[in-house]
């Protein structure tokens, strides 16, 4: 691979084992950037070798992890995360976390890569799924809120980088006033009122990786996809 800073084409893989991968693809196809974006749906280790970066979509994290293992992708994905940019949305965010709580009995396999601990289905069941406007640092037109769609979303419990890890940047927090009123799963006796509480974190960037607990691919707003390419993918190619 040539060390050019002006690559004309970038290849973005979308892990296509289960979940909402077509939505990410439709979003990427609409971006207008200088570079041509080539998209690969990743189902096998061979598919993965073609990619400069990867998006892990929403879906069921247990299903995606099992299918990855059965397809011989778990090892290649863990190696990929060590060297190339990856963005995880919702279930993808769980897979990118270094630790998860509320996992299935016997625990579940993660890829790791980000110094974040998450709680699966942290807001509760589907009746606690919600939509809310988000303020996001660093997006194009950042004055305009981004529409956050949270579906059985994971909740960030803590950021725990070790001194040798890349710094973590909090890209977006949700206002405590907008959290679903019923947080019984996470906090049986108290409301989150502290705006610095980790559970208000909904998007973080660490080094080349991006994690969002919500679904930018379910909106018509392509600013997060553009952000991933500008902030994570392009710097990694130079």
């Amino acid at each position: 691979m040539q060390p050019s800073t002006h690559r004309e084409e970038i290849t973005i893989g979308i892990l296509a084992l289960q979940g909402a991968f077509v939505e990410h693809q439709a979003m990427l196809q609409k971006l207008s950037l200088k570079q041509r974006i080539h998209i690969v749906q990743v189902r096998t280790p061979e598919d993965l070798t073609k990619c400069d970066s990867l998006i892990i979509p929403g879906g069921e994290s247990t299903t995606i992890a099992l299918l990855a293992r059965l397809a011989g992708l778990l090892g290649p994905l863990r190696d990929f995360v060590k060297v190339k940019p990856v963005w995880g949305t919702c279930a993808g965010a769980i897979l990118l976390a270094q630790a998860a709580e509320g996992t299935k009995k016997g625990g579940q396999e993660l890829l790791g890569g980000m110094s974040v601990t998450v709680m699966r289905n942290g807001f509760g069941s589907q009746v606690e799924s919600f939509e809310a406007p988000l303020e996001v640092e660093g997006l194009r037109d950042s004055d305009r809120p981004f529409h956050g769609v949270f579906i059985r979303a994971p909740v960030v419990l803590s950021l725990d980088p070790s001194p040798s890890d890349p710094a973590i940047e909090i890209v977006s927090r949700i206002s405590t006033a907008l959290l679903p009123y019923n947080q019984t799963t996470l906090l049986p006796d108290e409301d989150v009122r502290d705006p610095r509480d980790p559970s208000t974190i909904v998007a973080v960037r660490q080094g080349r990786h991006l994690l969002t607990t919500f679904h930018p691919e379910l909106t018509k707003d392509d600013r997060f996809h553009e952000y991933f390419i500008q902030r994570c993918v392009l710097p990694s190619l130079s």
Binding site: S32, L66, F130
Partner: protein, 333 residues
């Protein structure tokens, strides 16, 4: 470039948000009413209802009757489980009125797994639906597999925070259910038979009607909406995006990995498997093979590998007029 959605817009009358094979923009309706600080969050919007169905795509939803089966399904890679007291094959065999399951049993299943849990209610039985919503289930199936409680009306599904999936045999039926608030459609097939023929018939009917609609002029669409007994605005949207405006799964008679891949190649977004798993010789192995078949449905080599040595499939029934338990697919209006 897509046009960004502004907040404060009222919800679109057209349910949008199915995944889609044509690259048409996907829109989660933004229903942001103004609250304190000029913003508020919204629970149970059509966007999060159809959005959860989108997250299930490419996955297998398995019928289970207890916590132990639910765990087997989760370990085999199910993207959700359907909690019910008797699988359809047993409903056929034992007969009688089939109702909503005991909430205690459903709650045990919810506690046993981390994946979404669905439960069935009888067609038109909105109180069963209220009960299921109250125990925090993730999706309701208003299902023809249970004995209908109303032979004229379906549940007004817009009135619930929990999303609904409904069966359909053709495009008109699918669009009527969506207009009542269903955020997810499945074929009806013929449940409990282990025979995929009806699911194929229903999926082919829906696809063929969508293809016809997609080349019609607006005048023709008005007439076609009348023929199909479908709301015009939903038919028009379907014709524009060339697929159902919500996620569409196969259901009813899927028994093998090949059946599952067949339904995927016919354009389904995922698969429900009912009696086919726990009425087979080796449920865990068969369940896992069907999960892999749905992911790799276009890869015959992998399909061959996962189809090997699965033990006995469920005993299938031919679908004739003297089918034991009758034709369930004819229920629903």
């Amino acid at each position: 470039m897509s046009t960004p959605v502004s907040s404060g817009r009222s919800a679109s009358p057209v349910p949008q948000g199915a995944g889609n094979h044509t690259g048409t923009p996907l829109l989660a309706p933004t229903r942001s009413s103004t609250g304190k600080d000029g913003a508020s969050s919204n629970l149970g919007t059509f966007g999060v209802k159809s959005g959860l169905a989108q997250m299930l795509k490419g996955g297998v939803i398995m019928d289970v009757v207890n916590a132990e089966q639910a765990r087997i399904a989760e370990e085999a890679g199910a993207c959700a489980v359907m909690a019910l007291e008797r699988v359809p094959a047993d409903i056929r065999a034992t007969g009688g009125v089939a109702r909503m399951s005991d909430p205690k049993m459903i709650k045990e299943i919810v506690d046993a797994v981390t994946i979404p849990v669905m439960a069935k209610v009888r067609i038109g039985h909105f109180v069963e639906a209220q009960i299921i919503q109250a125990i925090g289930i993730d999706y309701i199936d208003e299902s023809e597999v249970l004995t209908p409680a109303d032979e004229e009306h379906h549940i007004n599904k817009h009135a619930f925070k929990v999303p609904f999936v409904c069966g359909a045999r053709n495009l008109g039926e699918a669009l009527r259910r969506i207009s009542e608030g269903a955020a997810f459609i499945r074929t009806k097939g013929e449940a409990g038979t282990g025979n995929v023929v009806e699911a194929v018939r229903h999926q082919r009917a829906v696809q063929s009607e969508i293809r016809k609609a997609s080349v019609m002029s607006e005048e023709e669409l008005y007439a076609y909406a009348k023929d199909l007994q479908a709301p015009f605005h939903l038919l028009k949207e379907t014709a524009r995006i060339k697929r159902l405006p919500v996620v569409n799964f196969a259901a009813g008679g899927v028994a093998t990995p090949a059946d599952a891949a067949l339904m995927m190649q016919l354009g389904c977004d995922g698969v429900f498997v009912g009696s086919g798993i726990f009425h087979s010789g080796d449920p865990a192995k068969r369940a896992r093979a069907i999960v892999q078949a749905v992911t790799h449905y276009n890869n015959p080599k992998i399909l061959a590998e996962v189809s090997e040595d699965l033990g006995e499939a469920m005993v299938g029934l031919t679908i004739t007029d003297d089918l034991k338990g009758g034709r369930l697919a004819s229920r629903g209006w």
